[in-house]
């Protein structure tokens, strides 16, 4: 990989000085390189998600930023100050872990007060602050209970309250929702985002869950194999994935081998597809990518552009839509194409397994990746 300098051109950053920077971070564990020359800037008040499959280095990056596992090479600055080699206790951050890491033998109140002690604060001020925080996370009636007496979601809210108790400049969340069940997770996702917005604290969250990243982040840093694949807003990353990896990792994507055939035309087998010319930067063999939900079905007599015929092999009922497996002889390959068909459309057209239908891909929904995957 070349110098993996993330391309930062996002609205939030314009003209501002970054609050946190990581420059050329490399982390090696023996012969294994967990992070490879990572550079990144994060702005004040931003909510950034590190997203990637397990083992991609996202937690390693977070732990380097926190000083818990200091990088082998490279620098980290926070608030304009070089903190590269400082131990965690000399940095300014609050942290929440997947395991909650609440002290089991201390009450909720004492857990939250833990970081407020030894700071020459009078007892009354500490109690006041703890109550404030309990109010903030909506658990003021639980102050005298022990962590084991609370549900997972409640425990994670206490962990959050403890992490922000000292008003840190940076909040680090390491897979905070992964240990919770789906309903609680969705609820807490919203709550954490709200809280972050209210407090305006710069936040980094590590997650392997794309839905979490898409719904919570201002910007997502997609990582793979110790390098940054793409940095961008959720919409950008979903709409304009910078690499086949990002396209595949976030959402579902069809990849079909093809060729470039002129300045604004692609060929996928015998199918000709019109495409925005600025997307074609390569010559020769390419991979055509598009998302299942962007596949349209031709209904009635109206002819759609970029259309081709395909046989419906299998329809999978997903609740709110059908995931359809299509095979097209025209695309001249064995590539199965996935399409998402709405319940209404299926009812309207009566599509069923074994039918041959005409489908199309709008030109602005096509993405082109170099080479054949």
């Amino acid at each position: 990989m070349s110098a993996n300098t993330a391309d930062i051109r996002v609205e939030t950053g314009n003209g501002q000085k970054p609050y946190l920077t990581a420059s050329n971070l490399t982390k090696q564990f023996g012969n294994f390189t967990a992070l490879s020359d990572i550079s990144l800037e994060i702005y004040e008040g931003e909510f950034v998600c590190f997203l990637g499959p397990s083992g991609c280095g996202k937690t390693t990056l977070l732990r380097a930023i926190a000083g818990l596992d200091i990088q082998t090479f490279g620098t980290v600055t926070q608030g304009g100050e070089d903190v590269s080699s400082l131990p965690p206790s000399e940095r300014d951050f609050g942290i929440v872990f997947q395991s909650y890491a609440l002290f089991p033998n201390l009450t909720i109140h004492k857990n939250i007060a833990f970081g407020l002690e030894n700071r020459k604060l009078p007892r009354a001020d500490i109690d006041k602050r703890v109550n404030e925080l309990l109010e903030l996370v909506g658990l003021n009636s639980q102050a005298d209970k022990y962590p084991a007496q609370l549900s997972g979601g409640q425990q994670q809210r206490i962990a959050l309250a403890r992490a922000i108790a000292t008003n840190p400049g940076l909040l680090l969340l390491d897979e905070p929702l992964s240990a919770l069940d789906a309903k609680v997770r969705a609820h807490l996702r919203h709550e954490i985002k709200e809280l972050q917005r209210t407090l305006g604290v710069t936040t980094i969250m590590v997650t392997h869950d794309q839905e979490e990243a898409l719904t919570m982040a201002d910007r997502i840093v997609v990582m793979n194999d110790g390098v940054i694949e793409q940095v961008g807003s959720p919409l950008e990353i979903y709409r304009h994935p910078a690499s086949a990896f990002v396209a595949d990792f976030i959402g579902t994507m069809n990849f079909v081998p093809g060729q470039v055939n002129g300045s604004d035309t692609l060929k996928m087998g015998s199918v000709e597809l019109k495409c925005d010319p600025e997307k074609i930067t390569e010559r020769g063999n390419i991979t055509v990518a598009f998302r299942p939900e962007n596949l349209l079905v031709q209904e009635g007599g109206k002819k759609l552009p970029n259309a081709f015929e395909a046989e419906v092999k299998y329809m999978e009922f997903m609740g709110s839509f059908f995931r359809v497996d299509l095979l097209s002889k025209q695309t001249n390959s064995d590539a199965h194409i996935k399409g998402d068909f709405s319940i209404n459309m299926v009812r309207r057209t009566g599509v069923k397994e074994g039918d041959t239908i005409t489908v199309s891909i709008p030109h602005d929904r096509l993405t082109v990746f170099p080479g054949v995957n």
């Binding site: 920077t21 090479f73 080699s85 942290i95 395991s99 890491a101 030894n118 084991a148 108790a165």
Partner: protein
């Protein structure tokens, strides 16, 4: 990234250590230094003494040549290995069946059987020897059972060693059997495997590491044990007693050192194999395993209960014999009861003072040992950086397990009795007994502490650091309370072993610091067997009371901390 000018991008970042990091390292270095002074240096001195003559002149391997050309000496190697292997086979077999009864049957009174099987841990290994003498010795009431064989020799040693090592093997095998996965049994049953086949294909393989580990522990215990062969060995020489004879009997310290080195070899060998096996056992544990629940089977349960009952009967008989002999006026001629054998002050061995000394020494060992061991384990487990230092510490903490008590004690004579040694002042005091005992039992205590610490969320320290709190606050307010069951376990372990140990202290006690366990030895040596039995039983009652107190305190703490321990 235009503003970042990286002229030397490949400069390795050197993490800055915080004040806490330095403090924690300092603690670790201090405890590491303790282990060097109390273990590594003395052993080194002993090793070098084995290459010197009586006057301290270096003579190369001459002592070893002499050792291996004296049949009376080197024959002990074969004797020691033989009885160790025989005991190993018998104990592991008996303990396996007993553990099987406890974990895989639905027999009643399991709690009772579990407690009774642990009794041998509470007595010095001299005591079963004494019990056997009363049962099978020249005037033994069950002598006819031997059909003319003598109990003084390998037979007596093996029986007494089986008694002595039984609970150690049982604990290990029970753990191995209780982690077995019920799903394997269900699968085997569904596949219609007959019971014996399930036993050979599921039960034994899943317990194999436990069995191997138990076998090596028993082997090490027996080959390094001094009490049993001393009391009941007769003319049958073994290595541990040879050291004693060379040092105490002939004052030949160099030859004592040679025998010590010879004894170290099998002990270290067994230790390393056991460590390898232990590592594999951990890897075998799966978090998804479903605990096995035995189903009632009246025939099988009755069989298991009669077996367990028989074992308990043997244990109780040996102890009851000792107690009875201690109370009887003149065995076997006058069986009326009296307390005259408790007039310890009239015999060799230090009298009642030795008993009080023992309690004092055991309390100090428990207090100092628990503090040192737990603090050391915490610093090595939760400290940051300083990797080489921590690896060295771990090595030092594991070493005592491989060093027989006799060897450690003899090393202490060489090391601490040297007037040039700045620590010479502890020689002959209670302190050296405490140091020796803490060091001798360090490893098991350290492993207990490490296990408890590893079970704590490893992110507690990260959270505490991010909240800029000092490590000792975390340690005192969270780690110690959460680990309190393990801490109590370490304390009682050290107390009980300090009460019973002979080998670690027999060379270094002084006139003012005589101990109960040594008194048993000396009274037995002087032919006062009944008082020896009486003192041995005193140790048993004290340990039993300590265990009971430990159980009460644990129960109380469990109740008090119930609110946060439930999950």
């Amino acid at each position: 990234m235009a503003e970042v000018t990286n002229s030397t991008p490949l400069k390795v970042v050197k993490p800055k250590a915080s004040r806490d990091d330095w403090t924690m390292r300092a603690f670790m270095v201090m405890i590491g230094a303790y282990l060097l002074i109390a273990l590594a240096f003395p052993l080194y001195i002993m090793l070098s003494k084995s290459f010197e003559n009586k006057d301290g002149v270096f003579i190369g391997v001459e002592n070893y040549i002499k050792y291996f050309s004296t049949p009376a000496l080197f024959n002990s190697i074969e004797n020691s290995v033989t009885i160790s292997i025989i005991t190993m086979v018998i104990t592991v077999t008996l303990a396996f069946i007993y553990a099987y009864a406890l974990t895989r049957s639905c027999m009643r009174f399991k709690g009772f059987f579990k407690i009774m099987a642990m009794i041998p841990i509470l007595v010095p290994s001299l005591l079963p020897g004494i019990g056997l003498i009363y049962m099978f010795g020249k005037q033994g009431y069950m002598k006819w059972l031997l059909f003319g064989e003598t109990i003084y020799g390998p037979l007596g040693i093996v029986i007494a060693e089986v008694f002595f090592t039984f609970p150690h093997a049982l604990l290990i095998i029970m753990t191995a059997l209780s982690i077995s996965d019920a799903r394997l049994y269900e699968a085997a049953t569904v596949l219609r495997a007959p019971k014996w086949k399930i036993f050979w294909t599921v039960t034994l393989p899943s317990a194999r590491y436990g069995l191997i580990s138990a076998a090596f522990v028993v082997f090490t215990l027996v080959i390094t044990d001094f009490g049993v062969p001393k009391v009941i060995g007769g003319q049958y020489n073994v290595l541990a007693v040879d050291i004693y004879k060379q040092v105490i009997g002939q004052q030949n310290f160099s030859m004592g050192a040679v025998v010590s080195v010879v004894l170290l070899i099998p002990a270290i060998f067994a230790f390393f194999i056991d460590r390898q096996v232990q590592k594999k056992q951990v890897a075998q544990l799966s978090a998804r395993a479903v605990p096995f629940e035995p189903k009632p089977d009246s025939k099988f349960d009755a069989l298991m209960m009669s077996y367990s009952g028989f074992i308990v009967l043997i244990i109780v008989t040996i102890l009851a014999t000792c107690q009875f002999a201690a109370l009887v006026k003149f065995w076997p001629y006058n069986l009326s009861l009296g307390l005259q054998h408790y007039n310890f002050d009239l015999m060799d061995g230090g009298g009642w003072d030795s008993y009080y000394n023992s309690i004092q020494m055991a309390l100090w060992t428990a207090a100092v040992g628990t503090t040192v061991v737990f603090t050391g384990a915490y610093m090595v487990e939760k400290g940051r950086g300083f990797q080489q230092g921590r690896t060295l510490f771990q090595f030092l903490a594991m070493m005592p397990m491989a060093v027989p008590g006799m060897v450690l004690g003899l090393s202490y004579i060489f090391f601490f009795n040297n007037p040039d040694n700045p620590f010479n002042f502890i020689y002959g005091t209670m302190a050296i007994l405490v140091v020796s005992t803490v060091t001798h039992f360090y490893t098991v205590a350290h492993l207990t502490a490490m296990t408890a610490l590893k079970q704590m969320d490893k992110e507690f320290e990260s959270v505490s650091q991010s909240l800029q709190q000092p490590f000792y606050k975390m340690f005192l307010k969270v780690t110690v309370p959460v680990c309190s069951p393990a801490i109590l376990e370490i304390a009682i372990y050290l107390f009980v072993n300090a009460m019973t140990t002979v080998s670690a202290v027999v060379f270094i006690y002084s006139y003012h610091t005589q101990l109960a366990s040594v008194a048993v030895l000396n009274m037995d040596d002087a032919g006062d067997i009944a008082p020896a039995a009486a003192m041995g039983m005193m140790i048993f009652y004290t340990n039993a009371a300590a265990r009971l107190l430990h159980a009460v305190v644990s129960k109380y703490m469990e109740k008090k901390t119930q609110a946060w321990r439930q999950r």
